[in-house]
Structure formats: C-alpha cells, structure tokens
C-alpha cells in the first residue's frame, strides 16, 4: 500500500470515518513505522491546537487502540440492558476507545445529548476487563490482564446495575441538601421514580 493511502487511512481514523479494515491497516503499519506513529501524534496535536486544548503529545493512541482490539477479539458481544438508567456503554470498543481518548482532551467530538439520544448499540458493549485501553501511555500505564472465563462475565454488569441506581439517588438527594435552589434537585430526584 502506498504511503499516501496509508496517510489517508490515518486521517480517516482521526476523523472517525475509517472502516475496520482501514483501522487494522493503520494499526499494523504503525507497529513498525515510527514515522507514521509520529504523524499520528502530530495529527492529534494539531487537532488539539485547533481546539485550543491541552494535549499530552506522548499519548500513544496506537497502543491504546491495539489494546482495545485485543480486548474486543473476544467472540461474545453481550447486549447490556439496564432498565433503570436506560443505557450504559462499556468503554471497550475501538470506536469508544478512540473517541474517549480524544474526548479526554477536547470534548467537542460528540455531545452528551447525542450520546444520550443514540439508540442502544449492542456492538459497543464488547466486554473488557481491567486496564482501559484509552489509558495507554497515560500516567498509569497499561494493565493488560488475561481475559476472564465466560462464567464470570455475567457478574460485572450486575455489579453496576445494582449500585448505580443507589449512587444516582444519593447524588441527586445530596444535591438537594447541599444546594441553595430547592425545586430543581427535588425534581431530578422525583423524576427517577418512574415506574
């Protein structure tokens, strides 16, 4: 593949327009192409500057995405339903990893409202264990752990399902005690009681 095509793919990845083939191609190429890796970092930087945002230039996006891909290689994609809060996204898929890595520094990519309005996408809920890929190169470093046996996989979503409603209630209720305004936090808390 020509360099131009490679850079074009890279730019597509940056714009979140790359298909899976392109993404794999770019990732494979960055493995032993320091120049391409540097270009990727430069693109990130340029983008951050355009958004006048801080960026850690050493952030190694490629490693993060590779880790995400490794995690996603697991065959089963579970559909996650959490009736209470409606929708939960597990930060594991490549798209999310790339988006999250970028959004960390500038958040104009996808508005929260859009995120909230989008229909649930089962493809986004590929299971993944500790060591968030977006953290690659971030201060904490990567922690790649082996994949858990499929037996254990059911438990973790349950963990959040059980706790988040309680957390959420506590947050809105505590807001109404700590806040000066009364009607708004009350209404937020009361609106959780829907069924």
């Amino acid at each position: 593949m020509s360099r131009e095509a490679l850079y074009e793919s890279l730019s597509a990845v940056m714009d979140d327009e790359a298909d899976e083939m392109e993404l794999h191609r770019v990732l494979a190429a960055t493995k032993d192409d320091a120049e391409l890796r540097a270009a990727w970092s430069r693109y990130q930087l340029a983008r951050a500057v355009m958004h006048r945002d801080l960026l850690e230039p050493r952030l190694d996006i490629a490693a993060g995405v590779s880790a995400a891909l490794a995690a996603e290689a697991m065959p089963k994609a579970r559909i996650f339903s959490w009736g209470f809060v409606g929708r939960i996204t597990v930060a594991a898929s490549v798209t999310v990893a790339v988006l999250a890595g970028v959004r960390l520094y500038n958040q104009s990519e996808m508005s929260d409202a859009e995120l909230a309005q989008r229909a649930p996408q089962p493809s986004l809920s590929a299971p993944q264990v500790q060591g968030t890929p977006i953290l690659a190169g971030y201060t904490e470093g990567v922690e790649q752990s082996q994949e858990p046996s499929s037996k254990d996989m059911g438990k973790d979503s349950e963990w959040h399902e059980k706790r988040l409603p309680t957390y959420l209630r506590q947050h809105v209720q505590q807001s109404s005690v700590n806040g000066a305004e009364s009607a708004l936090p009350y209404a937020r808390a009361a609106s959780l009681e829907n069924r």
């Binding site: 929708r87 960390l104 409202a113 500790q130 968030t132 505590q174 009361a190 959780l192």
Partner: protein, 317 residues
C-alpha cells in the same frame, strides 16, 4: 482612531453595566425565594422523563418559620416538606439515601460574585412564562468543564419561572418550567401540611474519613469539596467513600467502592443532564471502582475519574 477607542470604551462600559444588571437580577432571585410566598405548578423534563409538580412556598416573615412543600402530581406521589430549609419529611424517592445535611459543610447560598468567575452572566431579553412577563438571563460557562443555564425570572417577583440546562452545543438537557404561578393569594394551612407520602427522614449512618484519604489530582477550576463521608453500601455492605464537589451551581459526586477481586468492567452512561462514569483503579489496598456522577459534561467526568488518587498515607498502611 481616537473615536474608535472611545467607541470601544463606551461599548465595554455598556457591557459591564449590562453584566451588573444581570448580576442584580440573580441577587434578587436569591432574595425572592426568602421573601416571597407563592404557589404554583411546574413541569420537569429531561431525556426519557416528563413529570408535573406542585409547589407551595411560605416565606418566613415576621419570625414565622418558612415552609415549603413539593408534590409530584403524576404517577406515584413523591413529596418533600422543608421547614426553615431543613428537610422535615420526604418520600423514599427523594430522601432514602440522605446523609447528614448539616455538619462541616452547610449548604452554601448562590454567590453571584463568585459565580461570575466561572460563568458569564448576561441579560439576553424578555419572555413570557406561565402568563407572566419574564426577564431572560444566560449563565454560560467560561470553560468547557460545565454546562450553561438559561433562566427566565418573573419580572414582578424575580422568582425563577423557567430554568434550562444547556450543553456546549446549546442543546437542551433538562427543563423546569412553571405553567402556573400565584404570588398574591395567601396560602391555606392545609396546603402546607405534609401528605401521607411524606415520611420522616432517616439519615444514613456515616463516618468522616481521614482528611485527605482520597483526593482528586485535577478538578475543574472553581469546584471545591462540599461534603465527604464513608458509609456502608446498602447493596454490598462495603464501606463506600463519598465525596461531593461543587462550583456554586453545578455539582458532582464521587463514589469509591472496594472491588476486591471482582471482575467488573468500566462503565459510562448518561441520564438526561446527569452523567455516570465508572473506572477501576489500583491502590495499595486493592482495586477500587471509582464512580463520578454529576451534572457536568462527559469529558469533565472522565477526567475527574482518572484523577482520583488514594493518599500516600493510605497506600502505606
């Protein structure tokens, strides 16, 4: 050239006059809720939820106590009653997860001066809400770490008639809007008495963790710690550390729960204006799940969740 700079000067003076005017309205809003009795009906709307509520508010004048009663009008009745600002009773939906409201972190009233450091407060026009003429203020964030508000204040009493929470693209995240407001009819006593849905409030047993046991290496400018507790989880019995931060308008909570060896994924979710981000972190005491919940942009919550650290002291233990 001189004319031009004069024009600039006049322009900036006009701007600051306008800003001062907007701040005045905000100050009047704060006083209005203390001095003005009212009753009304409002709607609350966010993604996936629409509800209607009644409010009866008796200002505490002539050394009488202030009383406020809120009641959800549709679905299961949800009710809250406050006397002199203190929660007297509440339905489980609004009061079953409360930890002490007093203590070292008393509620802080809105401070328009301080707020102006993080938000630009402007008067942007006039409107009409609940049949009353209103003044429109925008409270827009000066950075990307918080959301903006649009407030419609009653021209006559300065009470808030409509409050919109907006994200950075100006999209509506939630709406609280009066459909009816009465500021002249005296409130009858029975309206200020709690109904059967209002149960006495039991606060959760908590203890105060060691100062600085947990901290956030990064906070959005202006956010400070408002509350900090540890309490056993009603779900797992584990000791959960709870921190709440605020900038005077927006708030977020941080929950830290020990995971031991449980395999749990990181998670994120959005409920109307409220974002939830959970992330596993490693400490000397084992892995913890840190969850940030608040009315802040997703990017802010993500950055906070990555910044939570156990203190050195704790790590040495």
């Amino acid at each position: 050239m001189r004319f031009f700079s004069l024009l600039l000067l006049v322009g900036s003076m006009a701007m600051s006059v306008q800003a001062a005017d907007a701040q005045n309205w905000l100050s009047r809003l704060l006083k209005a809720e203390q001095r003005q009795s009212f009753q009304g009906v409002f709607v609350y709307e966010r993604n996936g939820s629409f509800s209607t509520h009644a409010i009866w508010h008796q200002a505490g004048q002539n050394d009488g106590e202030s009383r406020e009663r809120l009641l959800r009008l549709d679905g299961a009745p949800v009710e809250v009653m406050r006397v002199d600002g203190r929660l007297k009773c509440g339905s489980s939906a609004v009061a079953d997860q409360l930890i002490e409201g007093e203590g070292p972190w008393p509620p802080r009233p809105l401070d328009p001066q301080k707020l102006a450091e993080w938000y630009e407060i402007r008067m942007v026009g006039e409107s009409r809400v609940a049949g009353r003429s209103a003044v429109v203020l925008t409270i827009l964030p000066r950075d990307q770490y918080r959301y903006g508000f649009e407030l419609h204040l009653d021209r006559e009493t300065s009470l808030p008639l409509k409050s919109l929470l907006l994200n950075e693209k100006g999209q509506l995240l939630e709406r609280l809007q009066f459909t009816q407001l009465d500021t002249s009819t005296p409130l009858t006593k029975d309206k200020l008495e709690p109904g059967p849905a209002c149960q006495p409030v039991e606060v959760l047993q908590t203890s105060t963790p060691k100062q600085g046991a947990w901290r956030s290496e990064w906070l959005p400018p202006g956010f400070t710690l408002r509350s900090m507790h540890t309490q056993p989880s009603p779900v797992s019995g584990e000791n959960i550390t709870y921190l709440m931060y605020g900038d005077g308008l927006a708030r977020f909570s941080v929950f830290i729960e020990p995971l031991h060896s449980a395999l749990v994924e990181d998670a994120r979710s959005q409920l109307g204006p409220t974002v939830v981000v959970s992330k596993r972190i490693s400490t000397a005491d084992g892995d913890m799940m840190v969850t940030v919940i608040g009315e802040v942009p997703l990017g802010t919550a993500e950055r906070i969740v990555l910044s939570i650290r156990a203190s050195e002291e704790q790590a040495d233990r």
